[in-house]
Symmetry: C2
Subunit: 149 residues, 2 copies
């Protein structure tokens, strides 16, 4: 088994090819990880959520990360992590273009709204929001067996 | 689509049924997420790694989490997060029983050692270590469509 570092363009390619990842956020240095669906565009990952723990934590501390991976035939895999900053796309003047961009990208995905739009039965429905992760840095690793060389 | 909170025994059942998850750690309130393989036993998740970023971060700040999920037929899914504390199992007197427990559990898994035991080509091989996450709290959600009721 060999592992190589992926360069930035390879990392961005995998981020763009995927629509599912794990969002990491942190409060008082306690990490929290939750599955998300997203749409990559340029240097941004767009997503949608009802308000709840992850949004509360990201509002407190916008330093977040998104990890995604891809497992292929044999034992080959790639894993990428994007470090970035949480940014809300509020329903206000000045954010219209960004919100419409988020909507246009996310609505191409079947069931894109599900993970972020449902709440445990019995809970009062919460307001929703669009947000994006502005990527600061990406790193990734590609693992493959010797005979794939 | 309905979502219900999973109780503690349901969460522990899913954690035990899985051997793959995402480990979240944090330094200076910057989260980091990485795939891991683990073996659950009682209130602990055992794992193995070469030293590197995640180990350095966990030594600095032992507050971590492990997230795992399960997607089933249709659109049904379960996702669980375990919050806990990183604990090294050093190769020293006093830790023999725990290290052997980790070894016994992990060695039942095919290729359990791979994600933690390989390093990017060209890097100097790093020492390895066994560790466990001592679980403090688990929460989980189960999503299913109305017609599955």
């Amino acid at each position: 088994m060999l592992i190589t570092e992926m360069d930035k363009s390879q990392c961005m390619e995998l981020l763009r090819a995927s629509t599912h990842g794990r969002l990491g956020c942190s409060r008082d240095n306690q990490p929290y990880v939750v599955p998300i669906t997203y749409a990559a565009d340029g240097n941004n990952l767009y997503s949608f959520s009802l308000t709840g723990q992850k949004v509360a934590w990201m509002r407190d501390n916008p330093k977040v990360c998104v990890q995604t991976d891809q497992f292929q035939a044999g034992r080959e895999w790639r894993s990428v992590i994007a470090y970035g900053r949480f940014e809300e796309l509020p329903d206000r003047i000045g954010w219209k273009v960004q919100r419409e961009r988020a909507w246009a990208l996310l609505s191409k995905q079947a069931e894109w709204w599900e993970p972020g739009s449902v709440k445990p039965a019995g809970e009062v429905p919460a307001p929703h929001l669009f947000f994006r992760i502005v990527i600061d840095e990406v790193t990734g690793r590609h693992a493959f067996t010797d005979d794939q060389n």
